[in-house]
């Protein structure tokens, strides 16, 4: 089974209400997607949010429309953290 890689998002991405970003995960180092793990009310959700690295976009919704929009607005900041960690000499 492929090893799971991750980068910590604690303290790097600000919370959106009760939504707290935990880490970004991937298995395939060449994957064009990573999974953003997050918690709601301090409890980690079983399904992550897909970040499309090519499109610099979060594909999934969380909570109401305002929360979903705010979460998606974090995509570029998370993208920077992930891409710099995976290919720092970019």
């Amino acid at each position: 089974m492929a090893e799971r890689h991750s980068v910590d998002l604690h303290g790097k991405i600000s919370d959106i209400g009760v939504v707290h970003f935990l880490r970004a995960e991937w298995k395939n180092p060449q994957s064009r997607f990573v999974l953003i793990r997050y918690a709601v009310h301090e409890k980690e959700e079983p399904y992550g949010l897909r970040l499309d690295l090519d499109k610099r976009a979060i594909l999934d919704d969380v909570g109401d429309a305002a929360t979903a929009t705010a979460v998606k607005a974090r995509a570029r900041d998370i993208w920077e953290i992930v891409v710099n960690m995976r290919s720092p000499r970019r």
Binding site: K27, R32, Y47
Partner: protein, 153 residues
Amino acid sequence: MQHIVRATTNSPCISLSRSYGVAEMYARDASRAFPTAANPAYVCEVDIPDPPPPGVTVLDPEIEVAAQNANPLISISYHHDGDMNFLLGVADPVGMAAHLTAPAKQPGGRGGAPRAPNLTIELETFVRALRDAEVLVLGPVPAARVINRHDVY
């Protein structure tokens, strides 16, 4: 174009791929949980006849974009002004970002400021759709048209 390039999620279209390899990559890498043998992702084979069933429209993104940019003299269109490796960066904007951002070469003596090549959403649409062997479907595909389902993990 927004659907293919920017991940607009309120698009009325569904993306399908003519390539099993592309579909498998999306199933393996783009699921909301990592697929396992006990909880796999799926690649579904869909057989859409010609003509398609009532209420179903199949669009080729290349044809749609080209049809709206058919005059190279008046349209910014999908032409770029980078070098021959520029398209590698469009196809893989993370892994080959250096090709995407390499300064566009300009004739000597003009004193132009260095800049990245022109990249339009039309060109991104072309390249991404070609890369993913992508077609778009409007309308519900009948369940009976799903002829195979493959586990991926």
